[in-house]
Symmetry: D3
């Protein structure tokens, strides 16, 4: 539903046809489906597919559950800042800040978070979340976009279809072609 | 801290001087200070005062705790959409949707929320949160502004300094001047 | 008509099919239809229904006429700042400014306006216009949105369909249920 | 005054120090100072210099008075759409619409306006207002910018300091250098 | 293709159906078609018609080739800033800057550019490019809009259909009607 | 220089003090300084440091020169779309497009570019440029931000200060700690 200007693509209900259910979603007290990886995390995403009324509102949310040593591998959200709040467990978070005058240098801003701690990841910054503890950990993430997007860096670099050229990856990462093949096997 | 263009007013640290603490805040596993009212709620707000790095990032958060029958009275957020997630208890939420062709008519979109339920309040809509249950209730709210603002309607109408003219309130609410005086006594 | 990117929902004419009539509207030298209330005002709105070319242009206008003691009751425009210019009569205007550090406190910025006086109401602020004089009064209002919206507070609080819960209104306004019933009778 | 983020450059009062006078201006029931030209019009502009509270609000206004055969010569507003309302007299308005596929072709959208008529000029379109009648004419203009800007085309082309190269003007307008000199004498 | 919200009007491919060709265009190593004028320039424009993937991305480009003494006559781009880079030849560029306090006065910012020189024209400023040399000249222009638009001032003023009123042009430019007729003959 | 609202941080000259030099820069007909790496490319960036007038204008540019087999390793621009135009040589370009429904899958959109070919990289997409040929290659890049930013992925992942935790990199890339050490040695 859009109160201002109607927008197409995603359906944009006439306000007269909308009702409270369009602004409601449930099921965020439990974890989402495990991801099809061995990384040990799952995401339960609250987006426009679950709550149609979010369309055009510029906000969304997700719940992430991490097993002990579970990792959300290095990734970026190209269209949103992420505000993290830890509900349970111990989560290590960090994002990489480029040196504005030398793109080959950067700093890591990282922190160990406990329940009730919050951390913010500015839009498009490379970041990770990692469960350092021996018990499950859960955090909520708010995004200031209805569609933040997610670019999982290792999967994008080594698992794309078609693959990035061998020469590019060998030179870009200064790794043997054999290691590149190993990486491709992991992430395709 | 601002990655793009530096902005004044709120301090805007040079990226070189910022560190991880600027992006961190804690203490959201407990309720905030009770409000100086008899409404039975408290708010623990995560904003730029608690987390300097939020400056210019366009996002913030709050935790609200409601005692049994606690009420966040009718209010609006003039600069943000609010996405609510219930952590504990039973919370009745609702917002008022104007009829776009007749401003004297409107619909209420309301819902009773349980833990794990979410509800979204579009920017500037009049809304309320009410603990219908006999136990404490807690929800998180995300906002897509670093400074959503809050206009508590009864306090704004009947408690402003100086007060809104008697004649305006008497006519506007079709109430005796005596009732207006009673309202002013409550909300000033 | 849209010069930049075509936008759907509201029709968006191809520039080739548009003509001068799309950018023209008339009839703002007289008052609009009286509102179906006893408040004593009428609005003559210049919006995209009257002038199709306004679509996507981010501006609109209205002429308001107030009988003696006519009142535009407390309301907000959720999507626009309003710039008022008095053409005739004496109009009392005011808007409520929240204390940014204490949402239970607020100030009223008010003024008595005569012909040629202007006043601005920032977006989403609760405000009123009131004809203090014994003759008709007229003002123009400009808005920086093609669809500013209007939330008439008393009608939204006490006249929505379905109604806001009794308990919420009784507690929120500290009024007897009988007074709430009276208010509902006035504004439904 | 800025309710959201403080912005510098133009002063941006802390909300605590602002008062109703910051949102008020007067004197728009009379014409402004005549312009230092023989074009026969004057402008009374309501901008941030007259009303400090406009700062950051994205709106402004002007009253224009045209003598009989007074002309606001071809101009553009680079940062705002203009919504015109005629208060008195007969005003011819028009703007030029480029053919999106051939920049050497364009259409004129024009109209003769009477009191109560409105016309909208999309941002940055070349336009003129002309008093076709034998009596004074007045219109109000609303702008969706606090600083719409105005580029008077003849004065910019033929009166800039330093002047645009002779060859450029001779070739650009296919006029004798003598005519260019005449134009410069008029508009410098 | 649109990664964020789908937008209609221009087609907006589902990301699943897009491919590399949508983001590719060729042929900018040669000049575009000569314009149907005697001004001596041609434009080779890289826009959404040549590269469908540009849709919603807010950027475009053009290559301009100027014969000796070729002139891009005074014009504005209503929706983009233009960043010019000279590849070959000697190009005189200039834009007109209004005096913010007196719209009848303005300054010209101009420069003679050689290969490797860059110049920026802020959005909606009247500007010209002129080949001062005796050899061909070429520049690239980047725009921060997918659809910058172009208003060729002489063609808009003297070649519109229908024409701007005689009286308006005579008075606006302080020229004899005969000269206006001459101008119309050149630019229609 | 800022025509609209003055903005601080970067200096924002009063228009009265600006002159043509603020909008001019030179030296883009030659390559920039080689980067302090063995990647074989250099960048000559046209930004606000070289052209002060770019401030607030939302546009910038860069010239990139690649030696044979030179590579701009995987990187993103967090604040701008990049429009590439090849001036000389043969350049392989590609960006990775996430599957919007499965973040562990992605497609590569790639292309071999020759002089006169253009390619666009949407904001924040991981991409590479690679000189496939045996001669030098040069491309221009336009950005729709005055400060696009650049995140060199390998340098951010393996060269940050302090480093990202061993466990995170080992698990995130499924590589031996020894290989991680090798990577760190390359990119720190």
């Amino acid at each position: 539903m859009c109160f201002a200007v109607f927008v197409n693509g995603r359906f944009c209900k006439d306000a007269k046809l909308a009702n409270a259910d369009d602004f409601y979603a449930s099921g965020f007290n439990v974890s989402g489906m495990p991801t099809p990886t061995n990384l040990g995390f799952s995401v339960n995403a609250l987006n426009v597919n679950r709550m149609p009324g979010l369309n055009t509102l510029g906000i969304s949310m997700a719940r992430a559950d991490l097993e002990p040593f579970g990792l959300i591998s290095p990734h970026i959200h190209p269209r949103a800042t992420e505000l993290i709040l830890v509900l349970e467990g111990t989560i290590y978070v960090g994002f990489v800040v480029p040196d504005t005058r030398n793109p080959f240098k950067s700093r890591l801003f990282d922190k160990i978070l406990h329940p009730g701690d919050a951390f913010v990841i500015p839009q498009s910054m490379v970041h990770i979340q990692y469960n350092m503890g021996t018990t499950n950990a859960t955090h909520l993430s708010s995004f200031n976009s209805q569609n933040p997007g997610v670019h999982m860096i290792p999967y994008q670099l080594f698992g794309s279809n078609p693959p990035i050229l061998d020469d590019v990856l060998v030179k870009g990462f200064q790794l043997d072609k054999k290691v590149i093949e190993h990486l491709r096997a992991q992430f395709s």
